[in-house]
């Protein structure tokens, strides 16, 4: 049986050069489906990865009770002092989170850019922050450092430039990276200078580094039960996962919907091509069946051909998506923080695998009916080439 399948499949594949035109329809059609699907899902994966990347298991964020993001939160200096002194807290970083309008490079239109006021502890607890160009900001001065994403996405966010925020001029002195996390979409400035410029006391949130990840639940309970505090503590990983606000799922659903619509067209292309392939080889297939070859090897070999073409399309589509989009930086408005988050498309191995599975599935669907037709056509009719 295997020898029969192999022989008919080899015959079919060797025939491909004589059917390059029709075969390329399948390759291009399914390549398009896989390319678009992988690219869109790479957007979702990149967005989620950016948000997930900011989280560490031994870090937590403290916000005003009822707030689900830093923009709507406020923490008083007294509260900062109480929380900082709690058992298990290794580092506490009060941070002020503001939003400024800055034009985007791509469109020239203003978009919300996060300005984060930080102290030295913010750097101490975030090992992932690396200055990659220029230098770090100096406390007490009107200096800022920009995340790599903010530098790429926003006009004028370049070292040496000055940025006007609320009647105060700030000099950009460095560009930082943060393992591709959402921090890279922000401008960081000295907290006291920002408080002064924005006439704000206190902070928006407190970042904590604790002595062990297990401490987080305990601290959350302690803060909740402390009558002096109207605050809530959330583990940083959990916090960032919530910041996606369903956007990742929306992108994924969009990706699969577009892919499904395109796939319907690709399946028809595959059906048409494979019907043509079967019709042009009707006599050959009938001859093999007359010689004693079974129906199953005929069905399997036609499907293998269809799936091979689809796989080729899938590989090309996935490669195009990888080469064209992997690492491509874009930004989008977070529907939770109402600020721009820059992120890179992430064409992950899992997405490539899923794309190829889709290609094989489409090839199988497109090849099945023509294969069954080839196998069921009466031999005497097929020998006449009908």
């Amino acid at each position: 049986m295997f020898a029969q399948i192999l022989e008919i499949t080899l015959m079919n594949l060797k025939n491909l050069p004589s059917r390059l035109g029709s075969s390329s329809v399948v390759v291009v059609g399914i390549g398009g489906v896989v390319g678009v699907m992988v690219a869109i899902l790479a957007m979702a994966a990149g967005f989620q990865g950016t948000l997930d990347g900011g989280g560490a298991p031994d870090r937590a964020i403290v916000l005003r009770g009822g707030s689900d993001n830093e923009l709507s939160s406020g923490v008083s200096t007294d509260e900062v002092n109480v929380v900082s002194g709690m058992e298990g807290v290794v580092l506490a970083s009060p941070e002020l989170y503001m939003v400024a309008d800055v034009p985007k490079r791509s469109t020239g239109t203003d978009a919300n850019l996060i300005v984060r006021g930080v102290t030295g502890d913010a750097f101490a607890m975030r090992d992932e922050i690396q200055i990659v160009e220029g230098r770090n900001l100096e406390p007490g001065r009107g200096e800022l450092i920009a995340g790599r994403g903010a530098h790429i996405e926003f006009a004028g966010i370049d070292i040496g430039n000055k940025v006007q925020l609320r009647q105060t001029e700030w000099t950009i002195v460095g560009i930082f990276e943060a393992d591709g996390s959402a921090y890279e979409s922000e401008l960081w400035v000295d907290l006291p200078v920002l408080q002064s410029a924005f006439r704000f006391t206190g902070a928006s949130s407190i970042r904590l580094r604790v002595d062990s990840p297990e401490r987080i639940d305990e601290l959350a309970e302690k803060i909740k039960g402390d009558p002096r505090l109207d605050l809530e503590l959330t583990g940083e990983t959990e916090y960032f996962a919530g910041q996606a606000g369903g956007l990742t799922d929306t992108i994924r659903i969009f990706g699969y919907t577009v892919a499904t619509i395109m796939a319907i067209g690709a399946v028809f292309a595959a059906l048409n091509t494979m019907y043509t392939a079967v019709v042009t080889r009707t006599v050959e297939i009938a001859t093999l069946r007359a010689l004693g070859f079974g129906r199953l090897p005929v069905v399997v070999s036609v499907m293998i051909e269809s799936m091979a073409l689809a796989l080729l399309g899938g590989v090309i589509g996935a490669l195009v998506a990888y080469v064209g989009f992997n690492g491509y930086t874009v930004s989008t408005l977070s529907n939770v923080s109402f600020s721009q988050i820059a992120f890179d498309f992430a064409v992950t191995p899992e997405l490539l695998r899923d794309g190829l599975i889709w290609a094989l599935g489409l090839g199988a669907i497109g090849g099945l009916l023509p294969a069954v037709r080839a196998a069921l056509l009466p031999i005497t009719v097929a020998l006449r080439g009908e």
């Binding site: 020898a3 006599v283 050959e284 007359a290 070859f293 020998l383």
Partner: protein, 227 residues
Amino acid sequence: MAIIELTDVHKTFMKAREAVEVLMGIDLGVDEGDFVALMGPSGSGKTTLLNIIGGLDGATAGEVVVADANLDELSNRELARWRAATIGFVFQFYNLLPVLNAQRNVELPLLLTKLSGEQRRRNAQTALSIVGLNDRARHRPGELSGGQQQRVAIARAIVADPPILVCDEPTGDLDRENAEEILDLLQILNRDHGKTVIMVTHDPKAADHAKRVLHLDKGKLVREMAA
């Protein structure tokens, strides 16, 4: 001893919702080692009769016993295996697979056996040497003349050593010289290798190579002549 025995065989096709009776009560016995030519005008049922004997088509009524097998009683899978073991087909237009060379074309029926690859190659070379084409083993059908292609097809038909060769107009696409070579080859296979040959032909000169000539007309055997 009869290797082919047909008793009151009928075959009806449906054409445009109308039943067309192509074979009407055929009784035929062919002995082992016989060489039978089937002649008759177009539409007389020659090819249909050949297809029924070769197990490619079934009779609507009657009994078809070939090489001790009652073909009506075989499932599709059994019939395929039976054809592989019992019948060697030679078609008018050779029906070689264009992407395979002569050697691979001849090997095809052996893929249905348990022979090793090496044994398959040896048997195919033997079959090609019988038809005088050993030196063309690596050529594809497109690189061979019509007569050579038909000889490759005959090598394919005999490679699995089936007792019966079923030939549908084997010289219909050849010039006289090549046709004579093919007919001589079939005669050798019949005479020296003991193959039973059933051949459909329009050509009286081709029929002259047979031991028996049967004439069909309008679905009936109308006369038989010894060649």
